[in-house]
């Protein structure tokens, strides 16, 4: 008898299904609307607003970061080009000075060679002139000696 009652008789029991069911269903549907108005909508608005705010900020930060990276790379390339320009100028100047030095050296060498040559030629001509004069004087002297010897006889 107890066992029969336990599993539900006409009155009472665990499986006593009655108007509680539809009323509970109506209550849950009403609760859905109430919770939607009191909880899901307001909290959702706040959370989604914040999520939007955060994602906007992240996007903005990313844009700024990429801008900064672009500027940095611009700056780097400028620096690079300035550096290579400077290097180019330095090496140009070095080449220029080297060229000038070589030219000056060559000019000086040429001049020195020319004056050396000139001096040599002068010495040679003077030597030959002196030699000539000497031989002429010797000739004159020998003539004189001969003449004197002949005349004294």
């Amino acid at each position: 008898m107890l066992a029969f009652n336990f599993f539900g008789a006409t009155e009472g029991g665990l499986f006593d299904i009655n108007a509680t069911l539809p009323l509970m269903a109506i209550q849950v549907v009403a609760l859905t609307y109430i919770l939607n108005a009191l909880f899901f909508k307001p909290v959702g608005n706040v959370v989604e607003k914040r999520e939007k705010f955060v994602s906007n900020n992240i996007l903005e930060a990313k844009n700024k970061l990429s801008e900064v990276e672009k500027l940095e790379s611009d700056l780097l390339s400028q620096l690079q080009s300035a550096r290579s320009e400077a290097q180019r100028i330095v090496s140009d100047a070095e080449n220029e000075s080297d060229k000038l030095y070589k030219e000056a050296l060559e000019l000086a060498n040429n001049e020195a060679n020319a004056s050396k040559e000139k001096a040599r030629l002068e010495i040679e001509s003077q030597t030959s002139a002196a030699r000539e004069q000497l031989s002429k004087q010797a000739t004159d002297l020998s003539e004189l000696i001969v003449n004197r010897l002949i005349l004294e006889k």
């Binding site: 665990l14 299904i17 009655n18 909290v43």
Partner: protein, 241 residues
């Protein structure tokens, strides 16, 4: 002999006794509505307090409610899918909150201290009417979700991989609410009975681990109910290709 005394003990726990209210010529289980009104009142007060002054930097209760909202959204989104989860989130969330509050309220509040003329207060979800009501709402919801999203193409679902599936899919429409309602009802009632019997037999210390287990089961059952409801709705709105 032992079995008989056990049944007498059950009878002493007043299993299957109800506090009947007569409205016109319909009879309802008053204890279910009493506890559900108390618990839902507490839930609504809690939520009103938490959403009274919403700020962009959440503090205190608002934090907890936002966590809850996020949890429910994740649940709805993973089961229903990105496209329509927004429409069903309040329903899934209400199911979760209702079942969770009912289960925990039934387990945590010492209702038996309040004497009723007949029956006793307890978790509203330990009454078969409540769980069948919830399960039928889920059934209606997934039919509505499928029909409103896909129109008559919803019924393609019944013959989806092959027409052989048709009888099984039709059977599923009956087993889904059956399993939903009986799972919840059985778990919560069993927990109440186990705790009740243990308290009756050994009133000290021994029931405490079982009570903790009951809290765990209650939370898990709320999650299972909401997840399955969302899964059924997701299954109904899913597009087959």
């Amino acid at each position: 002999m032992f079995f008989n005394s056990l049944l007498t003990n059950f009878a002493a726990l007043e299993v299957g006794q109800h506090l009947y209210w007569q409205i016109g010529n319909i009879r309802i289980h008053g204890q279910v509505f009493l506890t559900s009104w108390i618990l839902l009142g507490a839930l609504l007060i809690f939520i009103s307090l938490g959403t009274k002054k919403m700020e962009n930097d959440p503090k205190g209760l608002q934090n907890l409610l936002e966590f809850l909202w996020d949890y429910i959204r994740d649940l709805a989104r993973t089961q229903i899918g990105e496209k329509v989860y927004r429409d069903w989130m309040p329903f899934i969330g209400t199911l979760f909150l209702f079942v969770f509050v009912s289960n925990w309220g039934g387990a945590l509040i010492p209702w038996r201290l309040i004497k009723l003329p007949s029956g006793e207060l307890g978790a509203p979800t330990a009454d078969i009417n409540t769980t069948i009501a919830l399960a039928l709402l889920v059934s209606l919801s997934y039919f509505y979700a499928g029909l409103s999203n896909k129109g008559w193409r919803y019924f393609e679902y019944y013959v989806h991989p092959t027409p052989i599936m048709l009888p099984f899919k039709i059977l599923e429409d009956f087993t889904k609410p059956l399993s939903l309602s009986f799972r919840l009802f059985g778990n919560i009632l069993a927990d109440e009975l186990v705790v009740g019997v243990l308290v009756f037999l050994v009133p000290l210390i021994l029931p405490i681990p079982v009570m903790f287990l009951g809290l765990f089961t209650s939370a898990i059952q709320a999650l299972i109910f909401a997840t399955l409801a969302a899964y059924y709705i997701g299954e109904a709105v899913e597009e087959h290709h």
